[in-house]
Symmetry: C2
Subunit: 313 residues, 2 copies
């Protein structure tokens, strides 16, 4: 068996890189560990936005217009729920709902989240392995001047408007790594670790907050690479830049390198930020990291995979 | 306030009469107590087929083509659930699902079924009061030569094919009447009780199995009327005739009168069975009870309401 990469990822940006990697690598050369800090209970259902976005993207089922949910979706459930006076701030498509209902039912039956999602991914046509970083409950909590907000209250209900003064990951200190994550990290075939261009504070930090994950990354025997989520002093999408400003961090690729200090050996910098390369004291590759088209995804994936192989030597 | 009728009803046939009664009576002159023996847990959701059929019918939302579920329905949830390997033998439309999800959520929050369904009925445009006969769990169990079957396993999964040797109502002996049922039965304005032309064994018997219901009906101070579910020796719809044969009961309107012995003062016989009237020893009205059109529903409703007023004198 060939070497494989283990990707740590969150939402949309990370899923784009994962799709590129799935397209250019054999299925067995890619395993993906996904953030669970966004997961929450809603309408009695367990909802896992990042896992679902990753699986829908890799299965070719994602709604690329919205950036979340499924394509060819219908919205009858939501319309009737509104008529019934139910909570409608979190939009759930009819097809998307099937995954939430089935996942909740199987969790209540005692199956682990990683087992369920691995099965779901395979049923939905995903060829590589996708799993949650943890089977335990680990919830991102946003600290604001007005008090603490549950992640989806911040992200969806309040549309990221509240000013963040900090973040904490409730349950992280007691959370263990899911079995497929341990298997990947323990495997002699692990060839490298890739931190996707996801939001470092909202998507990657909850992964690193699992104590075993951080300590294993610190003691890694294989190269680890991060791909920049910041291009020219701005986030490609989402609130990363806004959060960095609120936390008093300079919005630059250099701050991301600093953020992952001790956990990475290489950094993929955007070509627009090429002049910054000389200030970065780890290995750097420069690449146009903006991923609008499928070809863009393939290009960034190739750069990252090649970078990983080079660092391994 | 004028006198009101309390209707005991189950599924489709009963809902047709209820719709007629809602059309010809002022809203405050009609209260409807619905069977809960068909209710079950499925996919982690509480599903109440008879309550929902009644409410959809009275709200003008019923799928009259199927005889169950909502009109203008979409089926994306079911399609995706099948892809995920979920249980798909019980068909749940996307809009229908909203009611199951919202009901389950509210039940888990501690609201009673009768409170929730009364709210749902009003939100969906139902003008009269509709409530479950009991807020407790009471489940119809079908006894067959091959063992016991849960009701929906018999009714939907096995399409009523297994031969019935008996029925029992699990939980009935401990079940109480829902508060609105007690209020209706205790009200000085109660003017009569109507047993709808629902399946006596599957839809009405679970209602009568609540000990307080049967004893209160036996001690009633107002007239009670049953409408025949049998026309010319056959059931209008559903397995009533098949069940009667299997239980060794003659398939005739007379058997229905016998079944309700002591609980009714009047019986509405179908005009096709008019010759049977002389063999029935309680008050009888003869009427074309087949309800295909809205006018049919109004006609049967008028006959029943007028019959009730006459018996009251």
């Amino acid at each position: 068996m060939s070497r494989f990469f283990l990707v740590l990822t969150g939402g949309i940006g990370g899923a784009k890189l994962c799709l590129g990697l799935q397209r250019i690598l054999p299925a067995e050369s890619l395993r993906i560990a996904v953030n669970v800090g966004d997961d929450f209970e809603h309408l009695g259902l367990r909802i896992c936005p990042d896992l679902d976005t990753t699986i829908y993207t890799l299965g070719g089922l994602a709604n690329t217009e919205f950036g979340w949910g499924r394509r060819d979706e219908t919205w009858t459930f939501m319309k009737v729920l509104e008529n019934l006076g139910g909570e409608s701030w979190f939009r759930l498509g009819d097809g998307d709902l099937a995954l939430h209902v089935e996942r909740t039912r199987r969790l209540l039956r005692g199956e682990t989240l990683s087992y369920i999602m691995s099965d779901v991914a395979s049923r939905l046509g995903v060829r590589c392995e996708v799993f949650p970083v943890s089977d335990d409950i680990l919830s991102t909590v946003v600290v604001t001047a007005g008090g603490e907000l549950e992640f989806q209250d911040y992200f969806v209900r309040c549309r990221c408007v509240p000013v963040i003064s900090g973040l904490r990951f409730r349950g992280a200190e007691r959370a263990g790594l899911a079995e497929p994550v341990v298997a990947a990290l323990d495997s002699p075939d692990l060839g490298g670790i890739i931190i996707a261009p996801s939001n470092p504070y909202l998507s990657i930090d909850p992964i690193l907050a699992v104590p075993q994950m951080r300590s294993r990354l610190e003691r890694r025997q294989v190269p680890a690479i991060a791909v920049t989520p910041i291009i020219g002093g701005a986030a490609v999408k989402g609130p990363a830049a806004k959060i960095m400003k609120e936390l008093g961090i300079e919005v630059s690729a250099g701050s991301i390198v600093e953020h992952y200090r001790g956990l990475i050996d290489g950094f993929v910098l955007d070509s627009r930020d090429a002049p910054l390369a000389e200030h970065i004291d780890i290995e750097v590759r420069i690449c146009d990291t903006l991923m609008n088209t499928l070809e863009d995804r393939d290009r960034v994936a190739r750069t990252v995979a090649e970078f990983g192989r080079q660092l391994r030597r």
